[in-house]
Structure formats: structure tokens, C-alpha cells
Amino acid sequence: MARRTFSIGGIHPDDAKLSRNAAIEAIPLPSAVYISLAQHIGAPAKAVVAPGDKVKAGQVIAEPGGFVSAFIHSSVSGTVKSVGVCKDLSGKAAPCVEITVEGDEWVEGVDLTPDLVTDIPADGKAILEKIRLGGVVGLGGATFPTHVKLSPPPGKTCEMLIINGCECEPYLTSDERTMLEKGEQVVVGTALLSHVLGDPHAVIAVEDNKPEAIAHLRGIVERLRPLGGPYAGIEVRSLMKKYPEGGEKQLIDAVMGRQVKSGQLPIDAGAVVQNICTALAVYEAVQKNKPLVENSVTVTGKGAARQANLLVRVGTPLRHVIDCAGGLPDSIAKVVSGGPMMGKAVVNLDAPTLKGTGGLLLLTEAETRRGAEGSCIRCGKCADACPMGLEPFLLNRLARADRNDELEAASVQDCIQCGCCLYTCPANIPLLDIIAVAKARVLGIIKARAAAK
């Protein structure tokens, strides 16, 4: 009997998948897009266009600024208006290319037909290069350049590829809709990823609150299995719903029964994890020559005008996306980019979407208001909830006392900032707020110590 979930902690918030039945719809193009050059982990990309240049959708507008970096393409056709900075959703300045939209013309070679291409190129290196040229980054939230993750350091091999279809964040449904509507592409993408890694066993892991997606993917996998090669090694695994199952370390634990050691990477445990939407982006980049210029964004919330899953070009202002889902009702007091557990509160609605934007959650004040902070009653619920086996109550006390040595001994640097502790705390103590600051401080100390050696 295979394991069904991760072994330590976790919580069961109401999954509130209000938008699960809303099919993905392409939205009208905005009048201008603002494409950030810093929308992946690593060095920002360097612009290769200048104001006044005519660009087409799918055309490279910025090149990688380092090894850990990614190509950036224009998501629309039109004229480059400026190459400068724009404010991101936190209100911080980010390098950005502004393009005025004119028509919708794509660069040559991009296959926009819906025809499924199942042939896997024999040369894994060629696939990898196409992924790199397609500007594909991890769409599960971290936006780590995919080609880097697919290039294990010498001496390390991937024993299992895990495709993350957990979508354990409440409310978000863009992954679920993608599995239902682009299931074939996801499975071919999985085969492509698997082939790059040397055809290891591939597991598409989906939480059991999405039974239709599981059944749908299983059917496709069975249909494509006779094609052989990487297709023969794909399996769809149903996992028990529990947050944060989609966390990389938790998912590896749930699927493989292995705990990635502190300070190590998934590949050290023989695993590579990629998101469902990344698999789709890989399919499009490799099989259709279509770079990553659009993604599906859930717009949802109990107070939202309507529940929607929208296909959005990268760089579209958030305000335009929300307007396409019926606008922002007056009762909405907070807009979150991402899910309610780890998403970021939006400061600036004129900020553009990024490759990794998966959802916009609209919350009313009553839903999101935190209760007054009380005294810790030492109930231990935070420690029970922590999926990393940490003791948030202890970290909180140590952090408030600035006891960095003890914080490090208590493994504050292992915190994945999933928010389970704060979500659970009956006294509304801002555990994660305080621990996150302490973690950054301790990581700085660890880095400085390593540099001094």
C-alpha cells in the first residue's frame, strides 16, 4: 500500500474550490502589457529590445542574465513603448518592458493549433534546450528556471520525477482546470520532462479532492502507455488532501517516503518535482515552439463578482484580469496574488501578472481580519501543525528575544513559511510573521559564516 500523505504535521483548511467548475477562458487583450524582467528566481533578464521596436507575440525581448535566469518573450504583438521600471504588486520597482498592444500576431514557427503532438524527441539535450529557449520556469510558485532544475549536478541522478498536481492551497483551481482541459498536454509534458532526466519513474500526484482530474489523467496515461519510452513509466497517484502537500519536501515525503535532509535539495533524495502547469508549458515550448507567454489565473473569493479561471497573457495588469472576472466589488478589502496560505497581498493593482501568477483571491475584511493577539496558552497546536516538525511557539519566544544561536539550533532556517502555525494558533499570535523575520536573519548569519571560511 503506497503512502497517501506526508508524515509530519499539516492542516485541513476548508478547500473552498469555488471556481472548480469554471472552464478556462481566454480574456481580451489589455491595451498595454508590462512584462517584468525579474519574474523568476535568479538574475533578472537583460532586455534586447528598445523603445519603438515592433515585436510579435512569442518574440524574445530579454535574455538570461546568468545561469540561473530565463528568457523572456513578448506576450503580445505591438510596439515597445519603454524599457525601464514598473511597480510590482508589492509596490517595489522592477525592471520592465512596456508594450503597446496592436493586433495579435505571433512569431513564425509557433504552432497555435490544438493538435496533440505525442512524439518525444530522442535527444534529451535538445528537449532541454527548447525548454530553456521557451523561458519555462516553475509555475508552482517559486518560478525557478526549469532547465536548471532539470540539469542535476554530476554524480546525482533522478530516481523519480514528481509532477505536482496537489494544488493544496485553498481556493485555487487553475491547476485542476488545466488537468481537466489540457490533460493530454500535461501527460506529454510529463513524458518530455521524464525523458530529459533519463526516463525515471514519473508520478503525477493529485490530492483526492480532485477525483475527476485523477480519473481523467489516469485514462490518458493508459491511452498513451502503448507509445512506450517515457510514457510507459507514468503513474497517477491519488494523495490524501492535506495542506501543505504541494510543498516540495512534503510531496517527496508523501510520494517516495523520503525526507529531504535539511539544507539539501530534492535531487539529493533522488527526486525532481515540477508543477502541472510547468509540464504544460514544457509541452508547448517543446512540441509547439510556443514560449511561456500566457498562463491560467484563478479569480475567486466568496465575495468575488464571479468565479473564473482565465487564460492571461504575461504582463497583463491585475486590474484588467479582475475586471474580466466582473470587477472588484466594494466589499473586497484584500486582493491576494496566490492562495490564502502563502499568497502575497497586493498593494498595487496596476502591477502586471507574472509567469508564476496562478490566482487572484478576493477577500472581504471579515474573512481576512486577524483576531487580537492573546497570550500563548501552550496548547502545542502550532507544533502539531508544523510540517517541518518545528516548534513555532519556541521559535516565537526565541525570535522576540533575538536569541539567534538558539534559533539556529531550533532549526528556524528549515521553516517553509507555509503558515500552518499562524493559521492554527488559537491565541492569534503572529507566529509566522515573527519567525519569517528571524529565519531571514539566521540565514544571513549562516551565509556570512560560510563566506568567512
Partner: protein, 327 residues
């Protein structure tokens, strides 16, 4: 400009609150309270009323006039202390003694340490032990249950007290059991004398079950106490049944169940980790029996809990949760 709330994640909170947890404890105590009123009548109600009112009022006054902070009685923890203290007292306790117990519980054991979450000792137990030492005559004047409409109360010794006294006079345990005519059925459903809350084992277990099902507490501390008491008394009883009482008798008499289910499991004064909790429970069970068997007091639960309360900071240093990805 849009007016949006901006704050760090997570953006939602579970419905779990301190007040909700305390409300659950009060609900879990309801069966024991109801049974005490049925068995002992209006005097149980009087003790309960004085105890709860005193605890809540004292915390209110201390927080408002001594600490000058905003009131905390809304979290219901003072009410829980009040109910637990009342259930730990004989119903014949005069109202002013109950008040003094509440003053010690809330005023000394809880608020001088900084209030909810900061106290080392369980306030209700501290209050009870304070009264036991200060007013032994009131605290050992037990009354056999007479029912809600009973007129004449019969006072006598509790089973534990009677056994202790009988043993000192040279009688053997089986003789004393036969002499008093106690049965386990009586102990389980309708008690034979003791504090208000010790009247009915089933009522206490019902409350405990509620707390476990609602995930307010984990069962390990309670189970570890009960298992320790059962195993250790089985050992002694096996060696000499004339001198030592049997496991079932020990489990069903005195404040053991009430203490194991409601007092030892107090969040604030018990260890944070499950492993620490099990060790804490073993300590409570062992110390209780040692006092019952060899001490001069007939009952040892309160002392055992207080002693192990003091060990909790150490247990929290020794026992931690297993971390992810670390040996």
C-alpha cells in the same frame, strides 16, 4: 488609489480560539457538574456559584486595577478554573473558604505569574491544595451523596480515607472493603463520598471523550496516568493484597479520574510534546500511588500534579518533536 488591506500570509485563520477551547472544556465538565448537583443538591450549586463568580471577579479586578490592562475574563479560562476548583471541594465547604481557594488559585497561582499561559502550577489544584493545608477540617469533612431532594446529609469518610484509617488501626484491605460494602458499580455510577466532581466516574469519562473527539486535548497524558496507576498498583496488590488496594479501586476513587482527565491535561501546565506528556503522566501516576500507599494523606493526586507541574519546564527541554529531514 485603491484602499486595500496589506498584511503577510496566511490570509485566513482557523476558527480555533482560546475562548472556543475553554468553552469546550466547560461543555466537557457539564456532565460532572450536573451529576454533582443531582447527587448533592443545592449546596453543590452554591459551591459552584461562589467558586466561578469569585474566580472571574478576582481576575477581572486584578487585571483592571492591579495590572491595568484590558480585561481577559472573556477568554473563559477563569471560569474553567472556577468550575474545576468547585468540583475539587466537598459540597459542605463554607462559602468564604471557597472564596479563599479562588483567591489563591487566581490571585496567587495564576495572576502573580502573569496570567493565562504564564502560570507554572494548575490554578485550581493550587487552590485546592492551599485549602487542604489551611483548612484540613473543612476539606476532609466529606458527605455521602443524599440526592437532590435529600434532607439529612450523612457525613463520613471517603473510601480512600477509610482505608488509610483502617490500615493504621491494623485492619486489612479486604476486611475494610467488605465492612463498608463498596462495589465497583457504585464507584462507576454513583459515588460513595468525596469532592463534588468525584461523584461519578462515567460523567468524567464522558467529558474526557468529548475533549478528545473535539481534538481539544490529546489522550496520551491521561492514558499514561491511568496505565501507570493500574500497573503499579497491580504490582503492589499482587505482592500483598491485605495492605494494598487493587488497581480498579485506585482508578475509581478519589480525584484520580477528575485529575487525570481535566487537571493534568491543562495546556499551560503540561509538557508541549507527546513524549514529554507521557513521562509527565507516568510521574503523576507513580507519585499519586506512593502517597496513597505510604504517605500520611489518603489522597495524592493533587500533590502529584503539582510536583509534575514543576517538572514541565525540564520535560520541555528534554523532549522535542521529531524534525523533518534531521536525524
Amino acid at each position: 488609489m485603491d484602499k486595500l488591506i496589506v498584511s503577510p500570509s496566511p490570509h485566513l485563520h482557523s476558527s480555533c480560539s482560546t475562548k472556543g477551547l475553554m468553552r469546550d472544556v466547560l461543555i466537557a465538565l457539564a456532565p460532572a457538574v450536573a451529576v454533582s448537583i443531582v447527587f448533592y443538591g443545592w449546596r453543590a450549586l452554591l459551591v459552584l456559584g461562589v467558586s466561578v463568580a469569585s474566580c472571574v471577579l478576582l481576575e477581572y479586578l486584578i487585571v483592571k486595577y492591579l495590572l491595568r490592562k484590558s480585561t481577559t475574563v472573556g477568554d473563559l479560562s477563569a471560569a474553567v478554573t472556577g468550575v474545576l476548583l468547585a468540583l475539587n471541594l466537598p459540597v459542605t465547604t463554607p462559602w468564604w473558604v471557597v472564596f479563599l481557594g479562588a483567591l489563591f488559585a487566581v490571585g496567587v497561582a495564576k495572576m502573580t505569574f502573569g496570567g493565562l499561559g504564564q502560570n507554572v502550577f494548575n490554578p485550581a489544584i493550587a487552590g485546592r491544595v492551599f485549602l487542604l493545608i489551611s483548612f484540613p477540617s473543612y476539606m476532609t469533612h466529606w458527605e455521602a451523596p443524599q440526592g437532590l431532594f435529600g434532607v439529612d446529609a450523612v457525613s463520613g469518610a471517603t473510601p480512600l480515607g477509610a482505608i488509610k484509617e483502617g490500615l493504621m488501626q491494623g485492619a486489612s484491605v479486604p476486611d475494610l472493603m467488605a465492612q463498608h460494602g463498596w462495589t465497583y458499580g457504585q464507584m462507576l455510577f454513583s459515588n460513595i463520598g468525596g469532592s463534588a466532581g468525584e461523584a461519578c466516574a462515567i460523567a468524567i469519562l464522558l467529558g474526557f471523550l468529548y475533549l478528545v473527539v473535539r481534538r481539544v486535548i490529546k489522550p496520551w497524558i491521561t492514558l499514561s496516568i491511568l496505565a501507570t496507576v493500574a500497573l503499579v498498583s497491580l504490582l503492589f496488590w499482587g505482592i500483598d493484597p491485605a495492605r494494598f488496594t487493587d488497581p480498579l479501586f485506585n482508578l475509581l476513587t478519589g480525584g484520580l479520574l477528575l485529575g487525570a482527565c481535566f487537571m493534568a491535561t491543562d495546556y499551560v501546565t503540561s509538557p508541549m510534546s507527546t513524549a514529554g506528556g507521557v513521562v509527565y503522566g507516568i510521574g503523576i501516576g507513580f507519585i499519586t500511588l506512593m502517597i496513597r500507599y505510604f504517605g500520611s494523606y489518603p489522597e495524592g493526586m493533587s500533590f502529584a500534579i503539582l510536583i509534575m507541574n514543576a517538572a514541565v519546564p525540564l520535560l520541555n527541554i528534554w523532549f522535542h518533536q521529531k524534525k523533518f529531514g534531521r536525524a
